[in-house]
């Protein structure tokens, strides 16, 4: 698949931004991730961090760039060079979610507004194989693509001051998990007992852009068992290699 050339511009004196047309598209994501890999491979002497969003790559340099236009042409050349596609390893994850009304504080509201039975909501939410596009908003928060249109719902009129860690919610066209207690305006439908951001791990989040994620409905009883396993450090995150 062919993609347009991005617009390449500086963002301050320590970062270069590459932007493509605004689009949420899985093919564009994998194109970005290949380029991200190329850029990371190329910078060996200079320390950079490359982050992606839906349609952008941001190259963060660890110090001030002396000649920003020269650096931009380095990036341009890198993009033009015909490199063999790297084999990037992606994973399929599965996370348990308990859709009990104890956690799903807005299940009733969603059910009424979107005219769906609660069982249908759970079915529609656990059906898709979501794509992880990137992390942002809060430490460890996953931007997921693939929410069923029937579940789209506007945010709450006034946000809750406290949303529990692990809360699973829907805001407009997006669904996600709150990695920690925070304020939040999403409609809450369940809770995931598995922590998705752990600061004491060398990699604080096991998920990477390009990985796939499915939600698996679990009972309150299973939820509590999993929670115990997590606390004891015996819980095994469900993960397998995913081929695109």
């Amino acid at each position: 698949m062919k993609f347009e050339k991005p617009l390449i511009q500086p963002l301050g004196k320590q970062a270069i931004l590459l932007s493509w047309q605004e689009n949420i598209d899985e093919n564009l994501l994998y194109h970005l991730l290949q380029l991200k890999n190329n850029i990371q491979q190329n910078y060996t002497k200079v320390k950079v961090e490359v982050i992606n969003t839906y349609n952008s790559l941001l190259i963060n340099y660890s110090s001030t760039i002396n000649n920003i236009y020269r650096e931009i042409s380095v990036v341009e050349k890198l993009m033009d060079s015909q490199r063999k596609k790297a084999h990037l390893q992606f994973y399929q994850f599965s996370l348990p979610v308990c859709y009990d009304q104890k956690f799903g504080l807005d299940l009733e509201e969603l059910s009424q507004q979107n005219q769906l039975e609660i069982s249908e909501i759970i079915q529609l939410h656990t059906q898709p194989n979501y794509t992880i596009f990137f992390k942002g908003f809060l430490p460890g928060f996953l931007y997921l693509g693939g929410l069923d249109e029937k579940l789209h719902i506007s945010r709450k009129k006034s946000p809750r001051l406290k949303v529990e860690k692990g809360a699973v919610g829907i805001g407009e066209k997006q669904t996600g998990i709150y990695p920690q207690i925070s304020a939040g305006g999403w409609q809450l439908i369940g809770n995931c007992p598995v922590p998705i951001f752990e600061v004491n791990q060398q990699k604080p989040s096991p998920f990477q852009a390009g990985d796939k994620l499915k939600f698996e409905a679990v009972s309150m009883e299973d939820y509590q068992t999993i929670q115990q396993e997590v606390n004891q450090g015996t819980y095994q995150l469900k993960k397998e290699v995913y081929e695109h």
């Binding site: 511009q9 500086p10 963002l11 301050g12 004196k13 320590q14 970062a15 931004l17 932007s19 605004e22 689009n23 949420i24 320390k47 961090e49 490359v50 982050i51 969003t53 839906y54 349609n55 952008s56 941001l58 963060n60 660890s62 001030t64 000649n67 920003i68 236009y69 990137f134 992390k135 942002g136 908003f137 809060l138 430490p139 460890g140 928060f141 931007y143 920690q180 207690i181 951001f197 600061v199 004491n200 604080p204 989040s205």
Partner: protein, 286 residues
């Protein structure tokens, strides 16, 4: 070696130069709000600029030293006492076990930095000691905290007396900005207005962002979630201007119209509610 927090003050925390390499996890950079002042504080006690320092805001803390150490305070103007005697900023001084330092009030600027020889050795998470909840267990100093610091071997550095703090830098109300990625989407008239109007800092100003008081009508559509950095100026559909600071989130959905220079982030970090600012557009050097 430690310093005991008798009173934590308004918004005091330990900060270094922040976390790099964790934006991909959605972790804010954090770090000292005014890198220049913090650097001078470190240099005055003979540290590198990267050591962790104490950042204090407006109403500072009361601290008790548990050992002998070498300390420096850098800020614009403040009322500070050591054992009830007035103390000058910008001069390194030795303290003894039991000495009590009170950062009573910052009378000019907003933030004052306290550096100790060897630096603070508090909790390190994701390669940085910068306090940011929930990455570190607390975002602020708390009463009765015992802050670990490096051992002091009595080597008072006199050689650093020549280090000059250029306080006049902070007199300016001009924030130098580069055009942001969505700047070109603004109509010419609005660009003109943004670059000539005097703005003031609203009460919504924190380590995460400074919101400006004045609103400007605009018809910019919001954007798909994009990367943002400390110093990015967001322009909301409601007309608010939000200048992201060191604890800013890593992505955002409002048009990014300006990007502050590093020096301007430092300058803004010393501004408070009601202070005036203007934007001065700068182009990248060819």
């Amino acid at each position: 070696m430690s310093i005991k927090v008798i009173q934590p003050g308004l918004l005091s925390s330990i900060q270094d130069f922040g976390r790099t390499g964790y934006a991909q996890y959605g972790v804010p950079q954090s770090g000292v709000m005014d890198r220049y002042a913090a650097k001078i504080a470190n240099l005055l006690v003979g540290n590198t600029q990267y050591e962790a320092v104490m950042e204090t805001t407006l109403m500072g803390p009361t601290l008790q030293f548990q050992e002998e150490m070498l300390v420096a305070l850098v800020g614009l103007e403040a009322v500070v006492t050591l054992n009830d005697e007035k103390l000058a900023l910008l001069k390194p001084f030795e303290v003894k076990n039991g000495d009590v330092l009170q950062l009573k009030q910052i009378t000019k600027g907003t933030r004052l930095y306290l550096a100790v020889k060897g630096g603070f050795l508090t909790e390190k998470k994701l390669e940085s000691r910068s306090m940011y909840e929930p990455v570190t267990s607390s975002g602020l100093l708390r009463k009765d905290d015992e802050l670990k610091v490096a051992e002091y071997k009595g080597e008072k550095e006199k050689a650093f007396a020549h280090i000059k703090f250029e306080a006049e830098k902070y007199e300016s109300s001009q924030l130098e900005v580069f055009p942001g990625p969505e700047f070109h989407r603004l109509p010419e008239e609005l660009k003109g207005e943004l670059l000539t109007k005097k703005f003031s800092i609203s009460k919504n100003n924190s380590r995460m962002a400074y919101q400006l008081e004045e609103k400007l009508e605009n018809e910019l559509p919001s954007i798909l979630t994009q990367p943002v950095l400390p110093g990015t100026v967001q322009f909301t559909p409601g007309g608010n201007l939000i200048i992201l600071m060191r604890d800013a989130q890593t992505t955002g959905g409002y048009p990014r119209i300006f990007q502050l220079t590093e020096e301007s982030i430092n300058l803004l970090a010393q501004k408070k509610q009601g202070d005036a600012i203007e934007f001065q557009l700068k182009q990248y050097e060819k």
